[in-house]
Protein backbone atom coordinates (compact mmCIF):
# COMPACT_ATOMS: atom_id res chain seq x y z
CA UNK A 1 0.00 0.00 0.00
CA UNK A 2 1.56 3.24 -1.10
CA UNK A 3 0.58 6.64 0.15
CA UNK A 4 1.14 9.62 -2.12
CA UNK A 5 0.95 12.99 -0.50
CA UNK A 6 -0.38 15.71 -2.69
CA UNK A 7 -0.39 18.97 -0.76
CA UNK A 8 -3.26 20.43 -2.80
CA UNK A 9 -5.57 17.46 -2.16
CA UNK A 10 -4.49 17.45 1.45
CA UNK A 11 -5.48 21.12 1.79
CA UNK A 12 -8.89 20.45 0.27
CA UNK A 13 -9.32 17.39 2.51
CA UNK A 14 -8.50 19.61 5.50
CA UNK A 15 -11.22 22.08 4.47
CA UNK A 16 -13.75 19.26 4.44
CA UNK A 17 -12.90 18.16 7.98
CA UNK A 18 -15.57 19.50 10.36
CA UNK A 19 -14.45 22.44 12.46
CA UNK A 20 -14.81 20.40 15.65
CA UNK A 21 -12.31 17.82 14.43
CA UNK A 22 -9.59 20.11 13.07
CA UNK A 23 -7.48 20.19 16.20
CA UNK A 24 -6.49 23.23 18.24
CA UNK A 25 -7.25 26.65 16.76
CA UNK A 26 -4.37 29.11 16.24
CA UNK A 27 -3.21 30.71 19.48
CA UNK A 28 -4.40 34.12 18.29
CA UNK A 29 -7.98 32.79 18.14
CA UNK A 30 -7.72 31.02 21.50
CA UNK A 31 -6.25 34.06 23.27
CA UNK A 32 -8.90 36.27 21.70
CA UNK A 33 -11.64 33.94 22.92
CA UNK A 34 -10.27 33.85 26.47
CA UNK A 35 -10.00 37.61 26.57
CA UNK A 36 -13.50 37.92 25.13
CA UNK A 37 -14.80 35.82 28.06
CA UNK A 38 -13.07 38.23 30.46
CA UNK A 39 -14.66 41.20 28.67
CA UNK A 40 -18.11 39.63 28.90
CA UNK A 41 -17.71 39.06 32.64
CA UNK A 42 -16.56 42.67 32.96
CA UNK A 43 -19.68 43.77 31.10
CA UNK A 44 -21.76 41.70 33.54
CA UNK A 45 -20.18 43.70 36.41
CA UNK A 46 -21.26 46.85 34.62
CA UNK A 47 -24.75 45.44 34.15
CA UNK A 48 -25.07 45.17 37.94
CA UNK A 49 -23.99 48.81 38.29
CA UNK A 50 -26.44 49.85 35.55
CA UNK A 51 -29.21 47.98 37.38
CA UNK A 52 -28.34 49.80 40.62
CA UNK A 53 -28.38 53.15 38.81
CA UNK A 54 -31.69 52.42 37.07
CA UNK A 55 -33.25 51.46 40.39
CA UNK A 56 -31.86 54.40 42.41
CA UNK A 57 -32.30 56.97 39.63
CA UNK A 58 -34.99 59.00 41.40
CA UNK A 59 -33.85 58.51 45.02
CA UNK A 60 -32.32 61.97 45.32
CA UNK A 61 -33.17 62.49 48.99
CA UNK A 62 -33.98 66.15 48.32
CA UNK A 63 -30.57 66.70 46.72
CA UNK A 64 -29.79 67.68 43.12
CA UNK A 65 -31.23 65.40 40.44
CA UNK A 66 -29.96 64.31 37.06
CA UNK A 67 -31.41 67.21 35.07
CA UNK A 68 -29.72 69.92 37.16
CA UNK A 69 -26.36 68.16 37.30
CA UNK A 70 -25.53 67.01 33.81
CA UNK A 71 -24.30 69.20 30.97
CA UNK A 72 -25.04 67.64 27.62
CA UNK A 73 -22.36 69.56 25.68
CA UNK A 74 -19.70 68.34 28.09
CA UNK A 75 -20.87 64.73 27.68
CA UNK A 76 -20.89 65.08 23.90
CA UNK A 77 -17.21 66.12 23.92
CA UNK A 78 -16.37 63.18 26.22
CA UNK A 79 -18.21 60.81 23.86
CA UNK A 80 -16.41 62.25 20.84
CA UNK A 81 -13.01 61.72 22.52
CA UNK A 82 -13.78 58.11 23.34
CA UNK A 83 -15.24 57.31 19.93
CA UNK A 84 -12.28 58.88 18.12
CA UNK A 85 -9.87 56.97 20.35
CA UNK A 86 -11.68 53.74 19.44
CA UNK A 87 -11.04 54.55 15.78
CA UNK A 88 -7.36 55.40 16.29
CA UNK A 89 -7.01 52.18 18.28
CA UNK A 90 -8.30 50.30 15.22
CA UNK A 91 -5.74 52.09 13.05
CA UNK A 92 -3.08 51.05 15.57
CA UNK A 93 -4.10 47.37 15.23
CA UNK A 94 -3.75 47.63 11.44
CA UNK A 95 -0.28 49.14 11.90
CA UNK A 96 0.64 46.30 14.26
CA UNK A 97 -0.45 43.77 11.62
CA UNK A 98 1.81 45.55 9.12
CA UNK A 99 4.60 45.47 11.74
CA UNK A 100 5.26 49.14 11.23
CA UNK A 101 6.66 50.59 14.45
CA UNK A 102 6.44 54.35 13.62
CA UNK A 103 2.78 54.25 12.64
CA UNK A 104 1.98 52.02 15.64
CA UNK A 105 3.55 54.63 17.94
CA UNK A 106 1.71 57.44 16.16
CA UNK A 107 -1.76 55.86 16.48
CA UNK A 108 -1.03 54.66 20.02
CA UNK A 109 -0.07 58.21 21.01
CA UNK A 110 -3.33 59.57 19.52
CA UNK A 111 -5.32 56.85 21.31
CA UNK A 112 -3.60 57.65 24.59
CA UNK A 113 -4.10 61.43 24.24
CA UNK A 114 -7.81 61.04 23.43
CA UNK A 115 -8.22 58.65 26.36
CA UNK A 116 -6.48 61.12 28.69
CA UNK A 117 -8.62 63.99 27.36
CA UNK A 118 -11.70 61.93 28.23
CA UNK A 119 -10.35 61.29 31.74
CA UNK A 120 -9.46 64.96 32.20
CA UNK A 121 -13.06 65.96 31.35
CA UNK A 122 -14.50 63.32 33.63
CA UNK A 123 -12.28 64.31 36.57
CA UNK A 124 -13.23 67.97 36.17
CA UNK A 125 -16.92 67.01 36.04
CA UNK A 126 -16.61 64.91 39.21
CA UNK A 127 -14.67 67.57 41.13
CA UNK A 128 -17.21 70.24 40.09
CA UNK A 129 -20.03 68.07 41.39
CA UNK A 130 -18.27 67.35 44.69
CA UNK A 131 -17.48 71.05 45.19
CA UNK A 132 -21.13 71.94 44.67
CA UNK A 133 -22.26 69.54 47.37
CA UNK A 134 -23.26 66.75 45.01
CA UNK A 135 -20.69 64.17 46.10
CA UNK A 136 -21.26 60.42 46.26
CA UNK A 137 -22.45 60.62 49.88
CA UNK A 138 -25.26 63.09 49.12
CA UNK A 139 -27.94 60.62 47.98
CA UNK A 140 -28.45 57.06 46.76
CA UNK A 141 -28.80 58.44 43.23
CA UNK A 142 -25.39 60.11 43.41
CA UNK A 143 -23.75 57.05 45.02
CA UNK A 144 -24.89 54.87 42.15
CA UNK A 145 -23.89 57.54 39.60
CA UNK A 146 -20.35 57.86 40.94
CA UNK A 147 -19.96 54.07 41.19
CA UNK A 148 -21.11 53.43 37.63
CA UNK A 149 -19.30 56.29 35.86
CA UNK A 150 -16.28 56.04 38.18
CA UNK A 151 -15.83 52.32 37.46
CA UNK A 152 -15.84 53.09 33.75
CA UNK A 153 -13.29 55.86 34.34
CA UNK A 154 -11.07 53.45 36.30
CA UNK A 155 -11.22 51.02 33.39
CA UNK A 156 -10.12 53.76 31.00
CA UNK A 157 -7.25 54.63 33.37
CA UNK A 158 -6.19 50.98 33.49
CA UNK A 159 -6.41 50.84 29.69
CA UNK A 160 -4.17 53.91 29.34
CA UNK A 161 -1.55 52.29 31.64
CA UNK A 162 -1.80 49.05 29.64
CA UNK A 163 -1.24 50.96 26.40
CA UNK A 164 1.95 52.52 27.85
CA UNK A 165 3.20 49.06 28.88
CA UNK A 166 2.43 47.72 25.39
CA UNK A 167 4.40 50.54 23.77
CA UNK A 168 7.35 49.70 26.01
CA UNK A 169 7.02 46.05 24.90
CA UNK A 170 6.89 47.00 21.22
CA UNK A 171 10.03 49.09 21.75
CA UNK A 172 11.98 46.40 23.62
CA UNK A 173 10.58 43.09 22.31
CA UNK A 174 9.48 44.12 18.83
CA UNK A 175 6.58 42.63 16.89
CA UNK A 176 6.82 39.04 18.09
CA UNK A 177 3.59 36.96 18.12
CA UNK A 178 3.21 37.31 21.89
CA UNK A 179 3.29 41.11 21.71
CA UNK A 180 0.91 41.17 18.74
CA UNK A 181 -1.59 38.99 20.62
CA UNK A 182 -1.43 41.36 23.58
CA UNK A 183 -2.03 44.33 21.31
CA UNK A 184 -5.08 42.53 19.91
CA UNK A 185 -6.39 41.96 23.46
CA UNK A 186 -5.77 45.62 24.29
CA UNK A 187 -7.81 46.71 21.28
CA UNK A 188 -10.66 44.41 22.32
CA UNK A 189 -10.56 45.95 25.82
CA UNK A 190 -10.57 49.51 24.48
CA UNK A 191 -13.50 48.87 22.10
CA UNK A 192 -15.46 47.12 24.88
CA UNK A 193 -15.03 50.21 27.09
CA UNK A 194 -16.55 52.27 24.31
CA UNK A 195 -19.54 49.91 24.21
CA UNK A 196 -20.02 50.40 27.96
CA UNK A 197 -19.80 54.17 27.44
CA UNK A 198 -22.64 53.99 24.90
CA UNK A 199 -24.76 52.55 27.70
CA UNK A 200 -23.56 55.23 30.12
CA UNK A 201 -24.29 58.24 27.95
CA UNK A 202 -27.65 56.86 26.88
CA UNK A 203 -28.93 55.77 30.28
CA UNK A 204 -27.28 58.30 32.58
CA UNK A 205 -26.86 61.50 30.61
CA UNK A 206 -29.44 61.42 27.81
CA UNK A 207 -31.99 59.45 29.82
CA UNK A 208 -32.11 62.39 32.24
CA UNK A 209 -33.07 64.86 29.51
CA UNK A 210 -35.30 62.56 27.49
Amino acid sequence: MSITIDTATQQIALDEVPLSQRGPAPQRVVAGFGFWLFLLSDIIIFSALFAAYAVLNDQTNGGPGAIELFNKRHVFIETACLLASSFTCGMMVISVDRRSAPSTYFWALLTLLLGLAFLRLEVSEFSDMVLHGAGPSRSAFLSSFFTLVGTHGLHVTAGACWLLVMMAQVATLGFRPMVMRRMLCFSLFWHALDIVWIGVFTVVYLGAHG
Binding site: A25, A51, M91
Partner: protein
Amino acid sequence: MNTTANIVAEDRAPGAHQTGRDRLRSYVIGFVLAVVLTVASFAASSSSAVWGPSIPVLLGVLAIAQMGVHLVFFLHISSAPDSTNNILALAFGIFVVGLVIFGSMIIVSNLNHNMMPMDQLLQMQR
Protein backbone atom coordinates in the same frame (compact mmCIF):
# COMPACT_ATOMS: atom_id res chain seq x y z
CA MET B 1 -11.31 22.27 -8.23
CA ASN B 2 -9.42 25.53 -8.24
CA THR B 3 -12.53 27.53 -9.04
CA THR B 4 -14.46 25.96 -6.17
CA ALA B 5 -11.60 26.87 -3.86
CA ASN B 6 -11.84 30.48 -5.10
CA ILE B 7 -15.58 30.57 -4.56
CA VAL B 8 -15.14 29.19 -1.06
CA ALA B 9 -12.50 31.84 -0.32
CA GLU B 10 -14.70 34.70 -1.51
CA ASP B 11 -17.86 33.35 0.05
CA ARG B 12 -16.81 34.20 3.56
CA ALA B 13 -19.10 35.21 6.36
CA PRO B 14 -20.06 38.88 6.56
CA GLY B 15 -17.72 40.76 8.84
CA ALA B 16 -14.91 38.22 8.52
CA HIS B 17 -12.25 40.70 7.47
CA GLN B 18 -9.02 39.24 6.34
CA THR B 19 -6.79 41.60 4.42
CA GLY B 20 -5.47 44.88 5.80
CA ARG B 21 -7.53 46.93 3.34
CA ASP B 22 -10.74 45.12 4.33
CA ARG B 23 -10.04 45.88 7.98
CA LEU B 24 -9.33 49.54 7.24
CA ARG B 25 -12.62 49.75 5.36
CA SER B 26 -14.42 48.07 8.25
CA TYR B 27 -13.02 50.58 10.77
CA VAL B 28 -13.93 53.54 8.56
CA ILE B 29 -17.49 52.30 7.92
CA GLY B 30 -17.91 51.51 11.61
CA PHE B 31 -16.61 54.92 12.66
CA VAL B 32 -18.93 56.77 10.28
CA LEU B 33 -21.96 54.73 11.41
CA ALA B 34 -21.04 55.23 15.08
CA VAL B 35 -20.70 59.01 14.61
CA VAL B 36 -24.08 59.18 12.85
CA LEU B 37 -25.78 57.15 15.58
CA THR B 38 -24.14 59.15 18.40
CA VAL B 39 -25.15 62.48 16.89
CA ALA B 40 -28.64 61.09 16.26
CA SER B 41 -29.09 60.07 19.89
CA PHE B 42 -27.83 63.43 21.23
CA ALA B 43 -30.15 65.23 18.81
CA ALA B 44 -33.09 62.97 19.63
CA SER B 45 -32.73 63.45 23.40
CA SER B 46 -33.80 67.11 23.22
CA SER B 47 -35.72 67.07 19.96
CA SER B 48 -39.24 68.42 19.65
CA ALA B 49 -39.72 66.63 16.32
CA VAL B 50 -40.25 63.35 18.16
CA TRP B 51 -43.25 62.61 20.32
CA GLY B 52 -41.97 63.16 23.90
CA PRO B 53 -42.87 59.85 25.58
CA SER B 54 -41.28 57.87 22.76
CA ILE B 55 -37.83 59.44 23.19
CA PRO B 56 -36.53 56.87 25.74
CA VAL B 57 -37.47 54.05 23.36
CA LEU B 58 -35.77 55.85 20.47
CA LEU B 59 -32.63 56.36 22.58
CA GLY B 60 -32.63 52.66 23.51
CA VAL B 61 -32.92 51.60 19.87
CA LEU B 62 -30.11 53.96 18.80
CA ALA B 63 -27.86 52.72 21.65
CA ILE B 64 -28.43 49.06 20.79
CA ALA B 65 -27.79 49.80 17.11
CA GLN B 66 -24.52 51.53 17.99
CA MET B 67 -23.44 48.65 20.22
CA GLY B 68 -24.10 46.33 17.28
CA VAL B 69 -22.00 48.56 15.01
CA HIS B 70 -19.13 48.45 17.52
CA LEU B 71 -19.37 44.67 17.87
CA VAL B 72 -19.34 44.02 14.14
CA PHE B 73 -16.99 46.68 12.80
CA PHE B 74 -14.59 47.25 15.74
CA LEU B 75 -14.60 43.96 17.68
CA HIS B 76 -15.04 41.95 14.45
CA ILE B 77 -17.65 39.60 15.88
CA SER B 78 -18.94 37.78 12.82
CA SER B 79 -20.46 34.50 11.76
CA ALA B 80 -17.07 33.27 10.56
CA PRO B 81 -16.04 29.82 11.84
CA ASP B 82 -13.26 31.44 13.93
CA SER B 83 -15.74 33.34 16.07
CA THR B 84 -18.49 30.77 16.61
CA ASN B 85 -17.43 30.37 20.23
CA ASN B 86 -17.29 34.15 20.68
CA ILE B 87 -20.87 34.46 19.43
CA LEU B 88 -22.14 31.77 21.79
CA ALA B 89 -20.39 33.47 24.72
CA LEU B 90 -21.82 36.82 23.60
CA ALA B 91 -25.34 35.37 23.47
CA PHE B 92 -24.98 34.06 27.01
CA GLY B 93 -23.50 37.38 28.15
CA ILE B 94 -26.43 39.33 26.71
CA PHE B 95 -28.81 36.91 28.43
CA VAL B 96 -27.17 37.45 31.83
CA VAL B 97 -26.98 41.23 31.36
CA GLY B 98 -30.68 41.36 30.45
CA LEU B 99 -31.58 39.18 33.40
CA VAL B 100 -29.62 41.35 35.86
CA ILE B 101 -30.83 44.73 34.60
CA PHE B 102 -34.49 44.02 33.82
CA GLY B 103 -34.84 41.56 36.68
CA SER B 104 -33.65 44.16 39.19
CA MET B 105 -35.86 46.84 37.70
CA ILE B 106 -38.98 44.67 37.81
CA ILE B 107 -38.33 43.42 41.35
CA VAL B 108 -37.59 46.85 42.79
CA SER B 109 -40.50 48.58 41.06
CA ASN B 110 -42.75 45.84 42.43
CA LEU B 111 -41.33 46.40 45.93
CA ASN B 112 -41.80 50.16 45.55
CA HIS B 113 -45.38 49.57 44.53
CA ASN B 114 -46.05 47.38 47.56
CA MET B 115 -44.34 49.70 50.03
CA MET B 116 -46.39 51.86 52.36
CA PRO B 117 -46.19 55.57 51.45
CA MET B 118 -43.43 57.33 53.41
CA ASP B 119 -45.71 59.63 55.45
CA GLN B 120 -47.80 56.72 56.69
CA LEU B 121 -44.64 54.82 57.55
CA LEU B 122 -43.34 57.78 59.61
CA GLN B 123 -46.67 58.05 61.43
CA MET B 124 -46.50 54.40 62.42
CA GLN B 125 -43.05 54.94 63.92
CA ARG B 126 -44.30 57.61 66.29
